[in-house]
Subunit: 243 residues, 2 copies
DNA sequence: ATCCTCTAATCCTCTAGAGGAGTGGAGGGG
DNA sequence: CCCCTCCACTCCTCTAGAGGATTAGAGGAT
């Protein structure tokens, strides 16, 4: 196979090659976990030197898009958002082992975006799928979440049985809807419960809460999901490394 | 000048070169902001190919140790912890512009490490310099901090006049004591004020607080400083990008 | 069935060098 | 004095290729 590097001729070749490879991943030609052609093959395909291919591939490794392993090959990285959110709460049992929380969909509906339009970067009259979800450990609710996604991108989720959602949403987005979350931005603050949140959490309106707002972005940089999570502040515990 | 790459012969040359360069920075031969020799010069000094030097230098750029600029040279990066902590609080005035908070030393004393020994990675009977510090905006206290450092590494600070500390400690550490903070780990949680904290913040004991514990590390990976900051929870507001 | 050796494929390390592009200062013209 | 051109120096891009390390699988020996 032979491929031409289009794009802006003023950009360096390795940059255009990076863009070309990301594009092929974005359109789904290669999916998470897939093996890319060998670097020698890519060099031949794109008619560039091996060193240039390596520079592009190493750049994509640095960007978190690819993984390379000597003797095996170059793979599309599987984004691991597993339980990133739960770094924020103490989820160890009495023995000190980490506990995987369970998820349950409490409510689900579709409505116009309205006030959520700017957060999801869609039109105000576009349909939005809302999920109201609780997360429990040993049947004790520790977090409730309001989740909003553009309905047209997540059509399969509207009809999916509530008990088929599983504990993690991002693998579901990936498998059922072809939408891969690669980046997210979170804002943390402290506040108080609304009656609805208090009921779901089994606490009072005056209980202090940690509130986490998350915007999740897809491979193309667009917003995939917006969610707001509420949990008891006294269980909040978050560690981060700076620089 | 000609230099030999000692270290474990089994490691790749570029890795040993990285180690050698970091070592020369650690011992103070090059300080923050200093210009390194040109890559051609380094290649001649260490008797390796230019590409190998570049791989080492690019690695150190990735590690945040160096900065390179085409046409200028390679420089030791100036760590910019400026007001990293203040990402955690809303510090914009009514007009929306960012406000630089002022710092004031409220108290200072030296005592044996005791319970702080493990946090500072020093002996229990080693001397620790304690600082009790407030940070204000428009004379309103928004944060108080308990700071602890190993006294023997920060001798100049024991006698320094309290009004000579300035608003930022890390540049002071660097300039007065030759200790450079390059990395930090923070843990955020929710709690309530002790009487002493409440007095300093001008609030009551029951006021909800955001508590930030920070351990700051030096170039050699050792602990330089441990601090705990307290601020009103209702002003807490923190944004982070994930992966 | 298990273990071993061999082999092909892959990425990693390292070398060598040509040409390009950005920076900053020296020197000259106005 | 100011502006411009030129130039030395720097890092950046790209090429070309040799040899090594690691992996996974095929095939044979036990």
């Amino acid at each position: 196979m032979s491929v031409a590097l289009a794009a802006d001729q003023r950009l360096p070749i390795y940059q255009r090659l990076k863009d070309a490879l990301v594009e092929r991943i974005t359109v789904g030609e290669w999916r998470a976990g897939d093996l890319l052609p060998a670097e020698t093959q890519l060099a031949a395909d794109y008619q560039v030197a091996l060193g240039t291919v390596r520079k592009a591939l190493e750049g994509l490794v640095g960007d978190g898009v690819l993984e390379r392993q000597q003797g095996r090959g170059t793979y599309v990285r599987r984004p691991d958002f597993g339980n990133a959110l739960f770094r924020f709460f103490r989820l160890t049992d009495a023995a000190g082992t980490v506990v995987q929380p369970q998820a349950r969909i409490l409510d689900r509906w579709v409505a116009p975006a309205a006030g959520l339009a700017p957060r999801l970067e869609i039109a105000a009259d576009a349909a939005v799928l809302h999920l109201f979800r609780e997360r429990t450990v040993n049947a004790v609710p520790i977090l409730v979440e309001e989740i909003a996604v553009a309905a047209d991108r997540f059509l399969p989720l509207i009809e999916l049985p509530a008990d088929a959602f599983g504990d993690l949403l991002y693998p579901l987005y990936d498998q059922r809807c072809g939408q891969t979350v690669v980046r997210a931005r979170e804002t943390i603050r402290f506040g108080h419960a609304t009656p609805r949140i208090a009921t779901a959490l089994g606490c009072t309106d005056s209980t202090p809460l940690a509130i986490i707002e998350r915007t999740a972005f897809g491979r193309d940089g667009g917003v995939l999901e917006w969610r707001r999570s509420f949990g008891p502040a006294d269980q909040f515990n978050y560690t981060i490394d700076l620089k």
